[in-house]
């Protein structure tokens, strides 16, 4: 409960900070809104001509795009900002101020990087468009496939968090990782396609190097029952997430040992 109190206080603090300069997000909202509209028009034109792609019809594709949007906002608003902040503060030594607080460092790091209002204002309108366009009755989805897909997605979040931290890690050893952390953007550009129809070797490889793929295409495959290997993917995701947690924890300890606290 103590940590929850600190988390809520930190989020309140962040909202107060956002309210001090409200309005920065409008241009991004307009930009992403037009991207979504363009993408939806593209999907509409494509599926009018071909009917379906790799056993995914227009409705399935819209659903995958919805999961893709949820994934994008989770990564860009929740997982990436703390790592950007970590790199920036370690470089200047401002990370000292986080380390000195009697609360879990990562809780403070993550919660002090989030922008709750920005997160809501920029994501909800775009996600709402997909929710409105999808014909929910037409999806081949059950409660159990939804639950399994949600677990796969959450495992993807854990794996992506570790992936992001590993991108940031060199700041503790080499002194910078700004460009590396910016790489999350390119790993997110190939996540919305029916990857389950790829040859097995490429499927395994793409899942390994593009953790965003697991969150979007992987969880969609499981939720919509698109493959016979759903249980295998679920099991692999859980094992992958556990391994990712161990890796994160190990390298976090090493990072703290290597922290040199720059005197800016």
């Amino acid at each position: 409960m103590r940590w929850l109190g600190i988390l809520l206080a930190s989020l309140k603090f962040r909202i107060q900070t956002e309210l001090a300069y409200i309005g920065n997000f409008w241009l991004e909202l307009v930009s992403t809104f037009f991207f979504v509209l363009t993408y939806i028009v593209f999907i509409d034109i494509l599926f009018r001509r071909v009917g379906e792609v790799a056993a995914y019809d227009k409705n399935d594709f819209l659903f995958m795009s919805l999961v893709g949007q949820l994934t994008f906002y989770t990564v860009s608003r929740i997982l990436a900002p703390p790592m950007g902040r970590l790199v920036a503060t370690v470089r200047t030594g401002e990370f000292d101020l986080t380390l000195l607080k009697p609360a879990p460092t990562r809780l403070l790091l993550y919660s002090s990087s989030w922008r709750p209002l920005y997160m809501l204002y920029t994501s909800v309108p775009n996600i709402a468009i997909y929710v409105w366009l999808i014909e929910w009755q037409g999806l081949v989805m059950t409660w159990s496939s939804l639950a399994m897909g949600a677990v796969v997605w959450l495992c993807g979040v854990v794996i992506f968090s570790t992936f992001m931290f590993m991108l940031a890690y060199p700041v503790f050893t080499q002194g910078d990782a700004t460009d590396l952390v910016g790489m999350w953007w390119s790993t997110m550009s190939m996540t919305e396609f029916p990857y389950d129809k790829l040859p097995s070797a490429i499927k395994a490889l793409s899942l390994s190097v593009l953790p965003g793929l697991l969150m979007t295409a992987g969880s969609t495959q499981v939720i919509l029952n698109k493959s016979d290997t759903n249980h295998l993917l679920l099991g692999a995701s859980i094992v992958g997430a556990i391994f990712a947690l161990i890796v994160y924890s190990f390298f976090w300890s090493r990072a703290m040992l290597n922290y040199s606290s720059a005197s800016s």
């Binding site: 206080a9 607080k101 040992l257």
Partner: protein, 322 residues
């Protein structure tokens, strides 16, 4: 009776640096080199002491302070602060130390200080009545109660530093570490911060690092000097001054030409020179006689005699003259 609250026993810190800076070959053969920032530092601080930690730039003062606060891991020796190993960053340890860094901002620039304090109240779990009374008392003492609700970016540096100081001790720590707390402040703000620190020292242990000797003189009773990562002096401020109590500095302003350094050396040490004046250091029993003789050969326009300033005493220590 000694009651050590901070104990360092052979503490040291080294950093691994890449010797091979070339882009490609550096990746394959980095040629790691080990550079010691602090070596074999041992001292202890008792409850209620106010200790100045001095040394030239790059001497290892800040590294030692950071090891004591648990920010960096000591690569050798042992450190005990309040019975805790600092690097473990135990919650109770962190609740009982405060660190003020003159060059790092803990307050959010987009909000007012009160909003930042309210977050600290939650993090440190300060009971609300205590929080309110401390904020009220400290803002009054530092004369910043009127700017408590002003956006931090709109404050002057002096006001901001005072509020940073309040933020660092809001949780009532037993030990306060200060690293250049008055850097960049005007004289009035410095005076106010020093008075406040003296007031705090009645209840807290203070470890202060500063290049401003007035901070040291007004706040600390003990001096630890570190040069090239090693402690070269550790004694009371009174004893440090005592070691130079027989020396006086005379600033001689000449009416016409200046004597040569060789001429002056027969009367004492030439400490500094400028366009028309010279500072001469000599034993206090001989300095008046020396000035009398010099003035006969070189007419004087003005004379100032003073005790040896602390910065010169410290400079002598840095240079190994004392």
């Amino acid at each position: 009776m000694d009651n050590p609250i901070i104990k360092l026993d052979g503490a040291g810190k080294g950093f691994k640096l890449r010797g091979n800076k070339r882009i490609l070959s550096g990746l394959i053969n980095p040629d790691w080199q080990y550079k010691k920032a602090v070596s074999n530092v041992s001292f202890s601080v008792n409850t209620g002491e106010s200790v100045a930690f001095l040394g030239p730039n790059g001497a290892g003062k800040t590294t030692t302070t950071k090891m004591m606060t648990g920010l960096i891991y000591p690569s050798e020796g042992e450190i005990d602060v309040l019975g805790y190993e600092p690097f473990a960053r135990d919650r109770n340890f962190l609740k009982n130390i405060g660190l003020v860094m003159g060059n790092k901002a803990g307050l959010n620039w987009d909000l007012n200080a009160r909003q930042s304090f309210e977050l600290l109240q939650k993090i440190y779990q300060i009971p609300l009545p205590d929080f309110e009374s401390r904020v009220s008392e400290m803002t009054k003492l530092l004369e910043v109660e009127k700017v408590l609700n002003t956006q931090v970016r709109k404050l002057s540096l002096g006001e901001r530093m005072k509020l940073e100081l309040i933020g660092a001790i809001l949780h009532d720590p037993k030990i306060l570490f200060l690293d250049e707390p008055t850097i960049g402040l005007d004289i009035a703000s410095k005076k106010s911060v020093r008075q406040f620190l003296r007031h705090l020292n009645d209840k807290k242990t203070i470890v202060l690092t500063s290049h401003d000797m007035d901070d040291i003189v007004e706040v600390c009773k003990r001096v630890v000097v570190i040069v090239e990562g090693t402690i070269i002096y550790d004694d009371s401020m009174a004893n440090l001054n005592q070691s130079y109590s027989h020396t006086r500095y005379a600033k001689l302003e000449f009416a016409d030409s200046l004597p040569t350094k060789k001429y002056l050396m027969q009367y004492g040490d030439v400490v500094s020179t400028d366009a028309n004046s010279i500072s001469l250091g000599a034993d206090k029993s001989k300095i008046m006689n020396a000035i009398g003789k010099i003035s006969k050969d070189y007419p004087l326009a003005d004379i100032t005699i003073e005790r040896v300033p602390l910065e010169l005493i410290i400079q002598d220590l840095f240079e190994g003259k004392k």
